[in-house]
Amino acid sequence: MTTIITKTVTRICLPLVILFSISLLLAGHNNPGGGFIGGVMFASVIALTYIVFGIDHIRSFFNPDWADLFASGLLLASLTAFAALPFGHNFFRSAVEFLHLPFFGEVELVSAALFDLGVYFVVIGSLLSVLKNVGDDK
């Protein structure tokens, strides 16, 4: 078992890193980052909690089905790509919209971001599914 010291710092890191991962996901289109990088970041911090607190302990309160997550990610990604078809466009045709929101100012809405979200889910889901499957294997 890891010590209280490690656990405490992991507790501190966990939200920070998750936040960072979301930041990387959202920033990806204009800055380094994106779905994959954000996803790996997320997966590694969950892995860290698994490692530090023990997979069974984490699972007692936080036990998403990672397979469902990566499947949904793949579904989301492919549906995003399909979404262009009803509009008379080719598969994966992207759309860019610039929205003016009252508080945030100009916000760029990119259909590709939805795809990137799918990537994000797939990365998180698949990596953690691997870790969980192997970790469970006694």
């Binding site: 800055n31 994959f36 610039f98 990365v123 698949s126 990596l127 691997v130 192997v134």
Partner: protein
């Protein structure tokens, strides 16, 4: 990106990886594959073709729509033998080649997936065979 010493390094990594995949221990083989995968990734990046110095992230845009133009014509008129893109003479680009980086990203992710699979496979093989020696891993032969 004509960099001979980098090419040499990549080649040497290739050699080292090759040496490892010729070993008898499957874990060593996998390590060898990892090294080669690094080498390949670097190789792809170094085959980028722009001599730019900036990362391929456009920073200086004054609002959407405007951006750096590269002075390039993009048309394909096969009948007239015009093969896009065609740049104006003496043109130089600030960025490094974004395409190769995207390719490498894909390659890295794929090799992560493959490596994960092959590692767990090695783990199961050990469970089944009780060894990691490739010489004993030859029930299938002849």
């Amino acid at each position: 990106m004509n960099n001979t010493l980098l090419s040499l390094t990549i080649a040497i990594l290739f050699g080292i990886g090759t040496f490892l995949i010729l070993r008898r221990d499957i874990v060593k083989v996998i390590i060898g594959l990892s090294i080669i995968s690094h080498a390949v990734n670097m190789l792809i990046v170094s085959s980028g073709v722009f001599a730019g110095t900036k990362p391929p992230i456009i920073t200086d845009d004054g609002g959407h729509g405007a951006s750096e133009t590269t002075g390039t014509i993009f048309t394909d008129v096969l009948s007239e033998n015009i093969l896009a893109p065609i740049t104006t003479a003496g043109h130089s680009v600030n960025y490094v080649d974004p395409l190769v980086q995207a390719l490498v990203l894909t390659a890295i992710v794929i090799s992560l997936a493959t490596t994960a699979f092959i590692l767990i496979l090695a783990y199961r093989i050990y469970e089944e065979y009780g060894t990691t020696d490739i010489k004993e891993l030859r029930r299938l032969w002849g």
